[in-house]
Symmetry: C2
Subunit: 344 residues, 2 copies
């Protein structure tokens, strides 16, 4: 029988950079194990050192290959890398597992790289909350760069990618619809645009379309990210004493290990450039604030929903649903009754 490891032991292992301890701590978070909270609170003071890099974009843009290539580029600089792939694929298709296996063969054997996939289990809020916790564990384990890759361009995937310090939005030529990225509101979260598969026809059209959008935006509405309201707290506007960040549009041809990649090292340098810009100005402090506000919002929602499950017996919820179905009670009146009961 496998001995259950005490949280304190896992905390020590995590902070010492032990990979087995890290993997076990992540599993506890994913399983919503009681010990998870102790571990998270125990390592929290040691977080905030890793550079969180979000990578999002439509399926078919070659995101995973690009993330692997970037990981190798960072390793080439002697830096350690963690990759967290957040996959809203249904459990049915098993996409996350498959992705893990492909990656393992490419980057395995390198102790400076840690890879983990998380798949949704039917509840997206749960995935967002769990990914926040797992990022904290990866940060506490001392990785220099932490890449968060999300599959898809929906609002929720975008929100996960937006909890990073530096967010990459990946496009590719000839995906049939130039405006895919814009549609899902990813324009507002991009610090760097990457046009991957840049050896394909139509690459200049895609680059031009992105540059025109950025041009238009500079003239008009400014980034929601820096001026947005999170949790009803108006974040201070970015002071522009330091130079403004100019969002670059970079071309890459990412390939698996052994192939001839193009533009990946330039991308790595742009990512590092963005971090320097954040650290030199007040960008990092502001971004940390908005990251924390988003994190708190996610955790509060999860905590409230757990409390609701604990406070209200299933029969009572079923009774509310029945009353609404018979049109005896309006949905708003039912929701109010639940909230009153919950908040005493």
């Amino acid at each position: 029988m496998r001995r259950s490891i005490a949280p304190a032991e896992l905390i020590d292992g995590l902070l010492a950079g032990n990979r087995l301890a890290l993997a076990r701590a992540i599993s506890r978070v994913e399983n919503e194990d009681d010990g998870a909270r102790v571990i998270l609170d125990g390592v929290f003071a040691q977080t905030g050192r890793g550079h969180l890099i979000g990578v999002t974009g439509a399926p078919g843009t070659g995101k995973s290959t690009l993330v692997n290539a970037l990981a190798r580029a960072f390793r080439g600089q002697g830096e350690t890398v963690a990759i967290l792939a957040v996959d809203p694929t249904s459990p049915f298709t098993g996409g996350a597992l498959l992705g893990d296996r492909v990656r393992m063969t490419q980057l395995s054997g390198d102790p400076g790289v840690f890879i983990r996939s998380m798949a949704t289990r039917g509840h997206l809020g749960g995935l967002a909350a769990a990914s926040v916790d797992v990022l904290q564990l990866l940060d506490s384990a001392g990785f220099d760069r932490i890449l968060i890759e999300t599959v898809g361009v929906g609002q929720a995937e975008v929100e996960i990618a937006a909890t990073a310090h530096t967010t990459l939005v990946v496009e590719a030529p000839g995906l049939g619809d130039e405006v895919q990225a814009i549609k899902a509101g990813v324009l507002e979260i991009a610090d760097i645009f990457v046009v991957n598969k840049a050896d394909r026809p139509g690459v200049e059209r895609t680059v031009t379309a992105l540059e025109m959008m950025l041009e238009q935006r500079r003239g008009g509405v400014r980034s929601m990210r820096h001026h947005g309201q999170v949790m009803s707290v108006a974040l201070p506007p970015t002071t522009t004493a330091a130079q403004e960040w100019t969002i670059p549009v970079l071309k890459t041809v990412a390939v698996e290990a052994g192939g001839m990649a193009k533009g990946v090292d330039a991308l790595r340098q742009a990512i590092e450039g963005h971090r320097s810009w954040l650290v030199e100005g007040d960008g990092m402090a502001l971004r940390e604030e908005s990251r924390i506000a988003r994190t708190l919002e996610t955790l509060i929602q999860t905590a409230l929903s757990r409390r609701m499950q604990a406070t209200l017996p299933a029969e009572q919820i079923a009774a509310f649903i029945g009353a609404v179905r018979r049109r005896e009670l309006s949905p708003h009146a039912a929701a109010d009754a639940v909230v009153r009961q919950l908040t005493g």
Copy 2:
């Protein structure tokens, strides 16, 4: 100065099918006007008659054109139609407004059709809650068919589409990535698959891919929709005394008014067939239950979040964020403190 209309007057107008009253009631919901709640509760007893049809799919599949063509097909049967286009496009691009204008020129002048677009305002939960309310208003106004079109294939868009009685998932050949639909978990919510733009090359490949997926699914995991847990209430499994619903894969070539459409009337018949199947078996009652559970979940979350904003002053939230940023308080500890304060 325009006189503000009393809620009671709007309720009477709504139930009489007055379009101006409907448009004004929707605006009140969108503006979170105090009168909105009175109107919603006032009409609720008259809802539950319209057939809610969700339409979702990736950008580029021709969803909007298909929805317009379907609206004309229903009108051809003498039925009234409302279209609600829910667009998570950022306010920056103004996609929703543009879509409205294109539609107006196609279907305008027909008093049996009502069209409305809703765009997100930076907060997706808010959009889901508002769309639930607007659907209720459209239902109370007596439309036979209510089409809800969502842009994008993210989890949140899927959830909005899944609040329908009958859900269509639209694909198109040659979008570069056959698995787009599967990736976002839309397989589980489809009652009918539509391969639109079926005059394009590769259509049979797309149809075959979908049919293979459906075949695989029949052998394995069953629909999450019917067996899922919503709000911690285990919904009863679909009793299969009646025949099971076999998800069809239909080909269409939807065009704007005046063009030569193909397969749209067959699709209309399949939609009606699905409704008959729901009504004849116990499907409709089960789906209504899961619809209401989802609706309550959305409204409860919104109500809790409003209560949080009312209970906690912005300075206090800012203080929590600051304490987390200085690593004095862990995010979970801060979230717990907020929840304790909120729930007394």
